[in-house]
Symmetry: C2
């Protein structure tokens, strides 16, 4: 069997996608077209998973009340997180917009089934965390598929995972992985916001690559 | 600023890439061209990371002695993992080839720096595991960039993480995430090996998607 044939330039276009992906915190409020979320979740389901366990559980947040409760929770956790910074670092932190939960048209919570029947345990006996790794790759797949059709994704991580399970009334054995915001970006940037705002530049290659 | 312009058909070609990605366990032994690994690691560095912390640490395994020690370790762990299965499930498990560590031209171990200076702690106060999530997205980025130029990647997870730190002599505060095999695939398949061998089929969408 022969593999897929990509047209000339595909690898370079993929580079463009990776370069422009962005963690989006500034959204337009216009809703996604009908069926778009399911289209993206179909792509996410193509992600690799340990033993083909597919442990991703996606929860679309439709209730305005639940969204408001999540926003209040994130704001409270963010005030605590901000308290570790002092002086100019604190001022820089406070100036960052860390999530677009209020305006993004499609908030999506993502969980990991911690003991899935699917996969029959294959590949995860010594490293059960590979289940969560599988969920993260599904999120990243969704992220890239979204960006390829002009939709931005932001990952909100300043939350207490247990609180999100409670606020969304999902089973205790689903481990919270990420709270995502999906929507059309209000701005387009080739450079990450944290680089533009001089919070953290990219690292030189020799700080992350080694040989043995 | 306007965003990237993708040519017509790009989203469909990305679908093809996602569909044909595969976890590769059957490799040709032909080496990767000079510079290819660095090219792929440059792409991996475009992955999202919490607070732009870039906590990925890639270790290229060049030493034949270290590779042999890793293979012996994986085989020993796999014998233990196999012991949980009985009868026909055990026979099916034993028939699976779970890694291509012996023949793949480029074994690559991936770790997570658990307390990186980069990022100044942003975004990970409540969920320190977002560092490992960042590393996983770098791995997935490398995986897709590799497949786009015809190179396969396999993720070996049946290892004791602490043993790999010791076998590769890396710092204790690097958390082992994955052992990857890179090389040209010996076979091309549109369907995952675990589906073809009837170990685990894909799940229907309604088992992984919910609303609240």
């Amino acid at each position: 069997m022969t593999g897929p044939i990509f047209p000339p330039g595909f690898a370079e276009q993929l580079d463009t996608l990776l370069t422009w992906r962005r963690d989006v915190r500034h959204f337009q409020t216009v809703p996604l077209p009908d069926g778009t979320l399911d289209h993206l979740l179909d792509r996410a389901a193509l992600a690799p998973s340990v033993g083909n366990s597919q442990p991703w559980r996606f929860v679309r947040v439709l209730s305005a009340e639940r969204r408001a409760a999540i926003v209040a929770h994130v704001e409270a956790e963010n005030r605590k997180a901000a308290a570790i910074y002092r002086d100019e670092t604190r001022a820089a932190y406070d100036a960052l917009k860390l999530h677009g939960l209020q305006e993004a048209p499609e908030p999506l919570a993502v969980f990991c089934e911690t003991n899935p029947a699917a996969g029959h345990g294959l590949g995860r006996q010594t490293m059960p965390e590979t289940l969560a790794c599988s969920v993260v790759m599904a999120i990243h797949t969704l992220w890239l598929a979204a960006r390829a059709i002009g939709i931005g994704v932001g990952w909100v991580s300043i939350v207490d995972p247990v609180a999100i399970n409670r606020l969304l009334d999902v089973p205790e054995d689903w481990r919270f992985v990420a709270l995502l915001c999906l929507g059309y970006p209000a701005e387009q940037h080739e450079t990450p916001e944290l680089v533009r705002r001089r919070w953290q530049d990219r690292l030189p290659a020799d700080q992350t690559r080694f040989t043995r």
